[in-house]
Amino acid sequence: MRFDRNLVFIKSDLRSRDEIVEFLGRQLVAAGAVQPDYITAMHKREQDTGTYITEGVAIPHGTEESRSLVNKTAIAIVKIPGGIEWIDGKKVYLAFGIAGNNDEHVALLGGLAGLLMDAGQKEQLMAAGSEEELFTYLEENIT
């Protein structure tokens, strides 16, 4: 699978972690990737262990039980220019909402992990100023 231009957003009006999770969940539902109950599972997952993965980045997704609610693999991306507090005072600027129920998304996430490992690349990704730029950067650097 590849990134979907229609699932890349820059939003300044999302004020909390819950709003971001809700927003990403709805985009995944709208794209036909998951059933509506998956959003509930995404919230639950945040309450259980949280999906903050590294400085400035989180990857909201459902729980083990919600795998059956995934129709197809998809990733919705939102950038929050001002950042919001995700958990324990840690800020998140970029959130990847993930729907995956098989290994299809593993390669993609691996690529993303590689990109985030590289300080220079991560900086460029975080600096993307428009949705188009963000999408293009991901497309070109993650295959």
Binding site: T49, G50, Y52, I53, I59, H61, G100, M117
Partner: protein
Amino acid sequence: MRESLQKFGGFLAGMVIPNIAAIICWGLITAFFIPTGWVPDENLAKLVGPMIQYLLPILIGFAGGRLVYGLRGGVIGATATMGVIVGSDIPMFLGAMVMGPFGGWVIKKCDAMIEHKIPTGFEMLVNNFSAGILGMILVILAYNIIGPVVAGIATLLGSAAKVIAEAKLLPLLALLIEPGKVLFLNNAINHGVFSPIGIAEVKEFGQSIFFLLETNPGPGLGLLLAYWVFGKGLGKQSAPGAIIIHFFGGIHEIYFPYVLMNPLCIIGVIAGGMAADLTFLLFNAGLVATPSPGSIFALLAMTPKGGLIGVLAGIIVGTVVSFLVSSIFVRAYSGNVDEQGGADLISARQLVQAMKPAKAGEQVQQSANSQTLATKEAGLVKKIVFACEAGMGSSVMAVSVLKKKLAQAGKKEIEVVHSPVNQIPQDADIVLTAAGLVESARKVAAPGTRVYGVQDFINTPVYDEVIKQC
């Protein structure tokens, strides 16, 4: 050596302990409904045979396969176990403990061989057929090998027992009885070897000691008490229930797994058996018929008038000796686990503490503090497991990061996998997990496994520490 023995014991326990509930369930049904049970019921007693013959070994085989290679390993482990079950007439717990993990291991190797060689879109088909074909081969192999092996062991034990009995060296019989029982040959020994001798003796003397040798619940009771007092974790917690089933219900099978999961305990039950047999001899104790099942009530019911003291003395001596000797091994084993686990937990906690500051600069500084950890026991690391909840996001990324870092360090041969936290494979050398899951991971991982918590899954000094240990 000690560490690998511990790991082996932990592995055996990992197959048995999750299934204790099913064993207790079977024990209760047996104690209640068999013809000599508390409330005999011919219809319900039909459950007893199939449950111990099929259900329990399959569960153990599944757990064994799963420990090695997750659900897929479990499925093949359980399938392979079917070969030994059908191939022999006795409940194949031991066979399941061999075939389960072996099945898991074979499918794991097979998967590793064909990885990356499957054309896209055919993964499901290839995976199912590769496992299915392997399963068939394993079942046939097990089926053909197991029958003669079990028959051989049974014949050997039987004839050895006869020789000893005829030589009047009764206490030495414990050397055969106890290991035989643990291999689930208890009924074969009791009804096949001792009952005929016993019946002949009753005709002549009115009672026989041969009815007491295998059915004495003392040695098993001593072992279970040792687990209750000195054991740890689930072994300790499940012991009281097992004691009731064993001592009052007379279902000795319940204690066999407790020996299997710490094989040195066989010395304890043998010592208990010998001491008990000697006591029976001294008191000239005997029963009028074979007590079945071997519960304290059945034994007392079969005791001839005036023979009560001798029978009770033998049971008590057997219990006490078995308890004392077994305690040594139960304590040594769980003591080590405790020590090791404690040390790891502390270092894991320190590391979690070190991870708390989020700023990159501070992290580097903190990383220096945990240097001590890196120098601590640098063993040969073959497998690193990243444990998580769903395996959908963070762990996938963490595994990818760790693989890249290991490749950069020239250590490509180390296996890195992710697994749900409740299914951490027992052959993991290092377990990484989210800071909040460290405690749960600790409980599931094999004793002695190093467990570390991380908060940042991409850039964390923990990865560098781990790589240094490899």
